[in-house]
Every structure is written in structure tokens, then in C-alpha cells.
């Protein structure tokens, strides 16, 4: 690399560092239902930097999958409208034409899903399906497409790819199918990979392999990862930042380490405390009373307050996602006065000491 090129590359890196790759601002998504218009998510704000690995966590129905799909504008048929902006590399995806979106999907932003069997077409070979992405987005010949597919299969850890490239999806195990999906999503070298529960259908030993693969690939090819999951352990092992969602809103945004040790939102804290731990017999598990409010009875003000042990007068006011210092954000006006326990509370010394030792 010449000196000029190097300088140019450096300045590119500096510029990239200054501007987030993805910047979601005030995103709200509405659906038509028989009972009227349903506001699935609202006021979603977050950024993802180039190469950053961010986990989106929350329970079912909190809007994390819809948020992922909306970035690629892959919304279901009853979609009724979208507010806000989805800035990707400076371009607002929310106002892109269908044609512009097709040029971005699969090439610059790719997505993988929970169940690889339903994402793969059973009547085409896996090699054909991986190469398809490449043929759609670039002008490559058949031979080159095959060579690059083989290389990609090797990169995602498929042993003897020459033998596997002409296999059909049903001939592969669940773990291998997910590797094929990852290969297909990465073959055009996207800047952002959205992974929606990519390991939920897999066994724990295979899950460990896939998470390691996602982390490695993101590090070596500088692909940003948006990992949607309900599993806080998966986020802790894979991501550096964690965005927690509740009832269609972002309620906390912090580095994984900060969120786990000292969560600022009572919901994040409650979730962390309700997890059973590997160290046996902790006695009763703390739990969050009640359930997520349904879309028809969504309360004004803080949406968590009916279940919150720290609810007080003032929580009925609209909550803003506010700056909590050090790059953290939280949607709770009482965050500064609450000292909430995280994953390590009550401090179980034997468990923590043991894990630290390993």
C-alpha cells in the first residue's frame, strides 16, 4: 500500500469513527389490525458504529425483531406506516425507493434469521443460493461465483466445502445450515449484519461455535453486527454494547459490562436478577411481577411503571431516553437516585470467584 493510499485510508477510518454507520432516529412503526392502527414501536433512537457489535435485547413482543426488519424495510403486509429516520451511511433508508433498497439489501446490509431451514430454499443447492446473492449484486461469471462461494463456505467453517457446495439444505445439520446462511449473508461483504436470534434453534455446543464465528467474522472483516436476542448470556459473549427494549421502546443503552454490573433501568435490573445461575440452589428467584402491557392498554408515561418496584409520583409523565453520562442512555427519570443491582447481585462470591478463576 502506497503512502498516499495509507493516508487516505487513515482519514477514511477517522471519518468513519466520527460518523455512525447506522443512526436510527425517532423510529416508530405502525400496523393495521382489525381493532385499528397499532403502534408497534415508537421513539427508537440508537447508533451503531462501523464494525461495532451491538445486542438488542428484550422479551417477546417488545419490538426488537420489527426494528431489525424495518432497517431492511422487510415489513409484513399489514404495515401501516413508519415515522422517523433510518440513516445508513448518510442515506435515509426510510425514504429510499424499492429499487434503492434492493441494491442495499444483501449487499451492504444482510440479515440472518432464527430458523435456517425456513430461510433456505429446499429445491436449490446451498452453493446456488449463496452464489445467487453475488450474481444479483455484482457482475461475476459462474466460475468466479463458485470459487468465491467455496472460499466463503471455508471461511464459515464448513469442512470439505467442495463436497458440501452441491448439497441441498435437508442434507445438512442445523448448525451447518446456519453456517450456510452466514456465508450467504457475508458473500457481498456487507457493512452491517443483522442477526435475529441466530442461535436460538441450536444446541448449546453448536451455539458456542456460531457465536464464535460471528465474533471472528465481525472482527476480521469489520462488519458491524446487530444481534437481536432474548438471551443476555449470548449478548455478553458476543457484543460490546447492549440496547434493552421494553414494550416498543428503547429503555437502556450502555456497554455490555456497564449494563450487566450496574444497570440503570429497573427493568434491565429485574431481568438480570431473574436469571437462574449455574451455581446451584440459590433459593427463590427474584421475579418481575405482572406482564408486559398489551398494545391496547399501553399506559401513558413510563410503560414499565405498573411492574416497577421503584415507581413513584412522576413516573406517569412521558419518559425521555436521557443521557446518563459516559455515553449511556436510560429512559427513567429516577435513574440517578436508584442504585440498582445487576447480574452479580446478591453477590454470590463462590460463583463469581469460580468463574473468574476459570
Amino acid at each position: 500500500m502506497g503512502e498516499g493510499q495509507l493516508a487516505q485510508r487513515k482519514s477514511e477510518v477517522a471519518r468513519e469513527g466520527a460518523r455512525p454507520l447506522l443512526s436510527v432516529r425517532g423510529l416508530g412503526i405502525r400496523f393495521k389490525t382489525t381493532q385499528g392502527i397499532w403502534q408497534a414501536t415508537r421513539r427508537i433512537d440508537f447508533d451503531i458504529a462501523p464494525g461495532e457489535r451491538v445486542g438488542i435485547v428484550g422479551e417477546s413482543g417488545c419490538g426488537k425483531t420489527i426494528t431489525g426488519l424495518s432497517i431492511l424495510r422487510l415489513l409484513p403486509g399489514n404495515f401501516a406506516g413508519l415515522d422517523g429516520k433510518i440513516l445508513f451511511d448518510g442515506v435515509d433508508l426510510a425514504s429510499c425507493s424499492a429499487r434503492q433498497m434492493r441494491a442495499i439489501r444483501g449487499k451492504r446490509i444482510a440479515m440472518i434469521f432464527q430458523e435456517p431451514m425456513s430461510a433456505l430454499d429446499p429445491v436449490f443447492t446451498v452453493g446456488h443460493q449463496i452464489a445467487e446473492t453475488l450474481r444479483v449484486h455484482s457482475n461475476v461469471g459462474e466460475e468466479e461465483a463458485r470459487a468465491r462461494t467455496l472460499e466463503m463456505l471455508r471461511r464459515v467453517g464448513i469442512a470439505s466445502p467442495e463436497r458440501r457446495i452441491d448439497d441441498y439444505p435437508h442434507q445438512l445439520s442445523g448448525g451447518m445450515r446456519q453456517r450456510v446462511m452466514i456465508a450467504a449473508s457475508l458473500i457481498c461483504g456487507p457493512q452491517l449484519l443483522i442477526a435475529d436470534e441466530p442461535t436460538t434453534a441450536l444446541d448449546v455446543t453448536v451455539q458456542a461455535q456460531i457465536l464464535e464465528l460471528l465474533r471472528d467474522i465481525s472482527e476480521t472483516s469489520k462488519t458491524a453486527l446487530m444481534l437481536i436476542t432474548h438471551d443476555l448470556g449470548v449478548v455478553a459473549e458476543t457484543c460490546t454494547r447492549m440496547i434493552t427494549m421494553y414494550a416498543g421502546e428503547v429503555i437502556e443503552d450502555a456497554t455490555v459490562d456497564e449494563a450487566l454490573v450496574r444497570p440503570l433501568h429497573p427493568y434491565t435490573s429485574g431481568l438480570l436478577r431473574s436469571l437462574p445461575h449455574l451455581s446451584p440452589r440459590h433459593g427463590r428467584l427474584p421475579s418481575i411481577p405482572g406482564r408486559v402491557p398489551s398494545i391496547t392498554e399501553m399506559p401513558a408515561g413510563c410503560r414499565f411503571r405498573a411492574r416497577c418496584a421503584h415507581a413513584a409520583k412522576g413516573c406517569e409523565a412521558e419518559q425521555k431516553l436521557q443521557d446518563a453520562g459516559g455515553g449511556r442512555k436510560v429512559r427513567c427519570w429516577r435513574f440517578a437516585e436508584l442504585n440498582l443491582p445487576g447480574a452479580l447481585h446478591p453477590p454470590d462470591t463462590s460463583a463469581s470467584a469460580r468463574v473468574a478463576r476459570q
Binding site: E59, S60, S173, G174, G175, M176, D203, V204, T205, V206, Q207, A208, Q209, L211, E212, H230, D231, L232, G233, V234, V235, A236, E237, T238, V256, D257, L260, V261, G270, L271, L272, S274, L275, P276, H277, L278, S279, P280, R281, H282, R284, L285, P286, S287, I288, R291, A343, L344, S352, R354, V355, A356, Q358
Partner: protein, 334 residues
Amino acid sequence: MTAASAEQRGEPIVSVRDLQVRFQTSDRRATVKAVDGVNFDVRRGETFGIIGESGSGKTTIGRALVFLLNPSAGAILHDGIDPLALSRREFQSHRRDYQIIFQDPNAALNPRMTILASVLEPLELARVGSRTERERQAREALERVGLPQEFGERYPHQLSGGQKQRVVIARALTLKPKLIVCDEVVAALDMSIRGDVLNLFADLQRDLGLTYVFITHDLAVVSHISERVAVMYLGQFVELGPTEEVAERPLHPYTIALLSAEPRPLPSSMRQESRIVLQGEVPSPIDPPSGCRFRTRCPHAQPLCTERVPEWRELKPDHWVACHFADRPNFSPN
């Protein structure tokens, strides 16, 4: 709990001897050995955990324990009795004592029946007492699992996942069982309510003297709830011992790898530096590897492991393992 059953605590309520369950593949060309030579006792009043990955045979064991499947070979004794030796009539009243709960409460509840009707059904089939007596018992069961009275008149679709699973638990309780097999009972629930349901299981055990066999793929759940835990791989137990021993001083390389693979919600400073990532996936139970079944993925495999099936031995008190090398120093990370 009566004085007699308190005395019996710790005695086997279920004894499994050389259990084998085989299935024919759909083309009838091959046999799947879903469970292949498993031995264990479930002790009265305990929670016995079984963990394993998909295809390990853990669900098959659970179904066999309550005779939803019959063993292909070997025996399962309930309180010393072989239920298969009973007459049909005796068997039907006997099996009320051994209940099973499944993962998906949506599949377990009839959407066209009210909650109360669903909970009443087992009492009606067993012809317990009068109609009013049955209704009293069903309502009592709903109350015991923490559901308010008015839920009896609702339909399944009006309930959340956690509430539905409570209904299924209530229904299993109506016939006052001694043992309940719980097959992935919290896997389909959201994390914030999982804890509630696990707490409910613990309360019911304390109040009713129940014995549980808890089948799950989730290590954290099994460690939380069980006194003893068995680890299954390809139709066999590879390790069995007190939960604390297995979780903190595992003996089998597969258990060690499973514990290492479990993603933990801990900050980076507290996570293990190097985890053991097993290569490959579980081989087919149609044609399992010779010798030790884990050898194809075991980081410590030796030639001996191909040649000889490891013995099932009690390496420490109450702690069993099937591995040729489990007693070698420097073998496990502990």
C-alpha cells in the same frame, strides 16, 4: 407430607434398569437407539435433572418414565412395582400417580375448552367424587398455582404463556401425583416469568412432597432446581451426581464442554478466557461411534476410547461417570 412418606424420603420412587428404547426409522431400514442402556433411581422428594442436547434421548426417557412409551428392553419400576405387570385396570389407576408436563402449554390445552373444564377433565376421567367435589378440587388446584378464581371461566387464548403453563401444572396436580416429569416446562416462557414458574415448582414440592424429573437443555435452569443431575449424550448417561458436584467439579469431558459453552450474562472481566468449543455436531443415533460415543468430539480421545465402551462407575460418592480417563489428574480443568 405424612410421617410415613417423610421417612421414605430418599428411597427410590422410580428405578430404571438397563433401559433401552428403540424406534424404527420411517423407511423401516434402520433402528434408532434413542435410549441405550440407562440406569438410575429417582429418590422420593427430590428433583432429578436430566440435561442433554437435542437428540440425546432425554425426552424419550421422560415419556418412558410415565409409560407413554414402553421400554424396548430393561425395566422401569414405580415404587418397586413393574406397571407393565399390572392389569389394564390397575395400570390406569396406577399411572395417575405419575404425571408429565410438556414444553408448549398451547399444544397441551384445548382452545375450545374453558380453563376449568381442562382442569376438571382428569378428575372426570378418574371418576373422582361428585360433580361439586370435582369442581371444588379443580378450583383448589387453580388457586394453588396462583390463578385467581375468575380464570376458570376463561379460554386459553385469553391467558399469557406463563398463565397457561400454570393451568397445565394445576391439571397435573388434580390427581395428586407422587411424581411429575417436567419436559422443558420453562423453555417457551419469557425470561421475566420463567423465575416465577420455577419458584412455583419449588413451592409445590415443599407443600405437597412431590418428586420431579426435570428435563431441560438449559444448564442454568437445571442447576437451579435439581438436587441431582444426569448428563445425557447420544442415548446414554455420561455423568450423574449431586448438582453442585457436577456443576463445579464435572468429571466427564462432555459435561466440562457443556458448562464451558453456556453463555453467561457476566461482564468481560469475569468471563472465562478460553472456552472449550466442541467441534462438529452430535453423530446420528442410528449408527453411533464405537467405544465411547463422545470420542468423535472429545478433545482428550485416545485409541482406547474407540476400542472399549467406558464403564459406568462411581468415581466419588454418589457421583457416576462413563469415561476411561475421568480419574486421571490434569484431565479436568479443576
